[in-house]
């Protein structure tokens, strides 16, 4: 009996250790760049978590996106991305920066990726510096660290559920993480390319090209980052999102970012995949179904977490 327990112990430990390494490589400390490879995920499984709708062959309407969709390996609750959902960066294939873009990229100090100057970062020279320049959160310049809106592309990339709500003249995207609402107008209005006032979410219009929903966005406040690696954008950024429901439980998203002030050519994202979660499977311990209210409240995050734990962990002590 004792030997069997030891064998069981070794199998479990070995399996979990391997899965931990996989998660680290694919998710939070993205690396292992394989350009042109299939989208990578950060989850531990190579199959879809049972929390998701499993069926791919049920009939569906290609223009029906209504429901809760997620890229999280566990369905919801932070952490890594599911095995085929793409990782937490816009892309691992960077375009060149313009001089202005380079200046702003250098000024942004993210806390995601491999630690700047570490042996880990130095061991991966094949990766763009954008993925190996992380500083302690106490020293980052991430606007989201102080509960500022994450911005258009970054919110779409974050691996937590998004509920698509379809109305006759618009689609609303309701994000669990930070509990954002974003509006995509489908009432035929033309895109607003040079708005009087920039917005954290910009101005978005959508139309259908066959079974692909094409969303055009302009006027995004350049204080937001493209993704959590601190990639910048300017007030001239234009983003085109292309969504396609490829089967009953999967929507694919590809984004193209055009910003001549920042990048020397359009930047095409890695394909991001969302899988359907029955809303009954997103719930509190009371059984209250639907998206969980994951606000960023300064009273919790800035005044408490940052002040009392995050910053002291980085050597920044508040009096």
């Amino acid at each position: 009996m004792r030997n069997r327990l030891i064998i069981l112990f070794l199998i479990v430990v070995g399996g979990l250790a391997i899965s931990t390494v996989i998660a680290a490589q694919r998710g939070a400390a993205p690396g292992g760049v394989q350009r042109g490879a299939a989208p990578r995920g950060g989850g531990q499984r190579q199959t879809l978590n049972p929390i998701f709708e499993q069926a791919t062959n049920k009939p569906f309407q290609p223009h029906d996106f209504a429901g809760v969709w997620s890229r999280n390996s566990e369905g919801f609750g932070g952490g890594g991305t599911c095995f085929d959902c793409g990782d937490r960066g816009f892309s691992d294939d960077w375009p060149s920066f313009t001089p202005e873009g380079q200046k702003r990229f250098d000024a942004n100090k993210p806390s995601y990726g491999r630690a700047l100057g570490s042996a880990d970062a130095n061991a991966h020279p094949e990766e763009h510096i954008g993925r190996r320049r992380a500083v302690p959160p106490a020293n980052d310049t991430d606007p989201a660290s102080h509960c500022n809106p994450e911005g258009l592309t970054r919110a779409l990339i974050y691996p937590d559920p998004i509920e698509f709500i379809e109305l006759p003249d618009r689609i609303l995207q309701h994000f669990q993480w930070r509990y954002y609402i974003r509006t995509i107008w489908l009432d035929g209005r033309p895109p607003l390319k040079d708005p009087d006032q920039l917005r954290w979410w910009g101005y978005s219009t959508g139309h259908w090209e066959g079974d692909t929903l094409v969303v055009e966005s302009d006027g995004v406040d350049p204080r937001t980052w493209v993704d959590h690696f601190g990639n910048p954008h300017s007030d001239e950024m234009h983003v085109q999102e292309r969504y396609k429901r490829v089967n009953y439980n999967t929507i694919e998203l590809s984004m193209t970012l055009t910003d001549p002030k920042t990048y020397t050519k359009p930047w095409v994202s890695q394909t991001k995949r969302f899988h359907l979660i029955p809303k009954e499977n997103v719930k509190t311990v009371d059984g209250w179904k639907g998206l969980i209210e994951d606000f960023c409240a300064p009273a919790d995050e800035v005044d408490q977490f940052n002040q009392r734990v995050r910053d002291p962990a980085g050597g920044v002590i508040h009096k």
């Binding site: 009996m1 004792r2 327990l5 030891i6 069981l8 112990f9 479990v12 430990v13 979990l16 250790a17 899965s19 931990t20 998660a23 680290a24 998710g27 939070a28 400390a29 950060g42 531990q44 566990e74 369905g75 919801f76 609750g77 932070g78 952490g79 890594g80 806390s111 995601y112 630690a115 992380a134 500083v135 302690p136 959160p137 106490a138 980052d140 937590d160 669990q176 959590h228 509190t284 311990v285 009371d286 969980i292 994951d294 606000f295 960023c296 409240a297 919790d300 995050e301 408490q304 977490f305 009392r308 734990v309 995050r310 002291p312 962990a313 980085g314 050597g315 002590i317």
Partner: protein
């Protein structure tokens, strides 16, 4: 079940929950940057405060050093509230398990900057029962 088997099972459960916490820790912002995760240190303490809040729950506790001096610790728990909710650790249950005065055994990774700040890797009560484990296998 004899004592040896029980001991093996406890070690197995603690190892599983440790690795589960480690995975989550790697998955969150800046955690791998601020804390030295190559070190895991066991520490015994008494809870002084627990906050079930975004972006990560926070645990505060007192411990004593070898000379009996009290150390006031602050700890970041790698999971976030919604991931704990997903595996059955709601606010009320978590706050009850970590109410002020509770004696706990914790595995920590210390802050690279030093001081009494740490990443909390695992928490167990005096009976060895896991608290706030985000692994579905140890939610009971």
């Amino acid at each position: 079940m004899n004592k040896q088997m029980k001991r093996n099972l406890i070690i197995l459960a603690m190892t599983v929950s440790f690795i589960s916490f480690a995975t989550l820790a790697l998955a969150h912002h800046g955690t791998g940057i601020s804390y030295d995760q190559s070190k895991t240190i066991p520490i015994k303490g008494t809870v002084t405060e627990f906050r079930f809040a975004n972006p990560h729950p926070q645990l505060f506790w007192d411990s004593k050093d070898d000379k009996g001096n009290v150390q006031h610790w602050s700890g970041e728990i790698a999971s976030n509230p919604s991931s704990l909710v997903r595996v059955g650790w709601g606010r009320k249950r978590a706050e009850e398990a970590l109410k002020p005065g509770t004696t706990i055994n914790i595995m920590i990774s210390p802050a690279k900057a030093g001081g009494f700040v740490a990443l909390v890797r695992t928490i167990t009560d005096e009976n060895g029962k896991a608290i706030l484990c985000a692994n579905p296998g140890c939610t009971q």
